[in-house]
């Protein structure tokens, strides 16, 4: 097979050459004995292979056909693939959802109380440090601060030097299980953190009641010169906006720990705070009067006073 046309001879007998190539190869074949022999051999092989007879019997063929036709047909292949893919996608979604839910549950369990306390500590100063230090006395006396003034104004200083905020990260909320220790042992952690957490919430609630009472008193004293004239409530509105979010947080905490009385009071307070915070800069005097009337009707200011005092006493005890 020294001729360059040998492969083309193969394609020629298969009819796979273009007309020009086929003419060229045929011209070459006239003068090349080797390629002529090759073509003859290839054609001989073809007749041998094509002449192969199978030993198939008609009976066997008919039996096979009957068997095939009697077999029920499945869904089309593409439908099968689609439903399989859909099932896989659905299963993946379920697994991903379950994982995300588990992770959220884990993170809420491990970080929830800590982060909640952090929010409270950032937003709220400690109203009576002596109480809180009393409750947190077991964690260290270095957190004690001088007695604050009773007026609301200096509380900003207390916010900056909040001992609870500083001490909070030092307290381990969840004890790390030792190697080989059962999870059942974890709830046996010291009770101090839970008690302190509850005390923090109650302190914050007492403070919130105090602030809300001050706000509502201030709102009650807003001067309304004439019916229909605009009132100046920008300070009250701003203060209410600050307190609404805190009110929501504290209400949830109270509900979570089953303190129905505090939760109920906070629930009554919330729409009033919302109404005040939603007032325009220069609200109509009638709008202010409507809110005042609601405050009076709910008798909310004395309730706030009573509850904040009760909480403060409970914390002292």
């Amino acid at each position: 097979m020294n001729c360059n046309f040998t492969e083309k001879v193969s394609s020629l007998i298969d009819g796979e050459l273009s007309p020009s190539d086929a003419r060229e190869v045929e011209r070459h074949l006239l003068n090349c004995g080797e390629c002529q022999q090759m073509r003859a051999d290839f054609l001989n092989l073809r007749s041998q292979i094509a002449g192969f007879e199978t030993s198939l019997q008609p009976v066997v063929q008919n039996r096979a056909l009957k068997k095939i036709l009697s077999t029920p047909r499945r869904a089309p292949a593409f439908g099968l693939q689609w439903s399989f893919g859909k099932a896989v996608a659905f299963a993946s979604l379920l697994i991903a959802g379950a994982l995300m839910g588990f992770m959220l549950y884990q993170s809420s369990n491990s970080r929830g109380p800590q982060s909640g306390r952090e929010v409270v500590a950032v937003n709220e100063p400690t109203p009576v440090p002596s109480r809180s230090t009393g409750s947190t006395g077991s964690t260290g006396q270095q957190q004690q601060k001088p007695e604050p003034e009773p007026s609301p104004a200096p509380r900003k200083d207390n916010e900056e030097n909040n001992p609870q905020r500083k001490s909070a990260p030092k307290r381990p909320l969840v004890r790390e299980p030792k190697p080989g220790e059962q999870f059942a042992a974890i709830p046996a952690a010291p009770e101090t953190p839970d008690r302190v957490t509850s005390a923090d919430a109650e302190t914050m609630t007492a403070m919130h009641f105090d602030k809300s009472e001050t706000l509502l008193r201030s709102f009650r004293n807003v001067r309304l010169n004439e019916p229909g004239s605009a009132a100046e409530v920008s300070y009250e509105r701003q203060r209410a906006q600050q307190l609404v979010y805190q009110n929501m947080m504290l209400r949830r905490e109270a509900e979570a720990r089953g303190d129905v009385q505090v939760a109920s009071l906070l629930e009554s307070l919330e729409p009033i705070l919302l109404d005040i915070s939603n007032l325009p800069d220069k609200p109509d005097a009638d709008a202010v009067r409507v809110i005042r009337a609601r405050v009076e009707r709910k008798n909310i200011v004395p309730l706030l006073r009573v509850n904040s005092t009760a909480l403060a006493r409970a914390l002292d005890d």
């Binding site: 193969s10 041998q48 198939l56 063929q61 096979a64 068997k67 047909r73 089309p76």
Partner: protein, 177 residues
């Protein structure tokens, strides 16, 4: 549904014998196994792909599936001696006279033996060309390879068989003289 079955029956009648022959050559004989695999290929077509394939594709689909089954069979039982196949083959009813039958048998055995010396892809491509008269493009479609590979495979298969054939003829001539 009835028309679909009629169409399927027509396809079966047209191509089942060809598929059996193709598989028999591919497997190096073993007619019963070839018939089983051909039947299984048609069964798969009927159960899963019939009605979803574009017109004219069913034939290529069948050859592709049948070839894959044959390859699986090679892997499964390449070294195993199929006594059952031989018994069935020996018990097969003969219709011709013994002399003619013997000659044909000899010739077919020779063809099968020579085909078995080829690599599987060359053998399949050559069988699809010589027995089924598929074009290079169609063979490439069945085997999922390019036309140029089909062309080269067929040429190499022919060249290899030709060489073996000439050697065999020379050996036969020497033994006669």
């Amino acid at each position: 549904m009835a028309s679909e079955d009629e169409e399927f029956t027509m396809l079966f009648q047209d191509f089942y014998p060809s598929l059996c022959r193709f598989l028999e050559c591919l497997l190096g004989g073993r007619a019963p196994l070839a018939q089983d695999l051909a039947q299984e290929s048609f069964l798969q077509l009927h159960r899963t792909a019939w009605g979803t394939l574009p017109a004219g594709e069913a034939r290529f689909w069948l050859y592709r599936v049948a070839r894959n089954m044959a390859i699986n069979e090679f892997r499964k039982s390449n070294t195993r001696y199929r006594l059952f196949d031989r018994v069935v083959e020996a018990m097969r009813p003969r219709t011709r006279n013994p002399e003619q039958e013997y000659e044909t048998q000899e010739q077919q055995t020779l063809v099968l033996e020579m085909l078995q010396t080829l690599p599987e892809d060359q053998r399949t491509a050559l069988l699809l060309r010589e027995q089924e008269q598929l074009s290079y493009r169609e063979i490439g479609q069945v085997l999922n390879v390019s036309e140029s590979k089909v062309k080269v495979d067929i040429f190499r298969a022919r060249a290899s068989l030709r060489e073996r054939w000439s050697k065999r003829v020379k050996t036969a001539g020497a033994s006669v003289s």
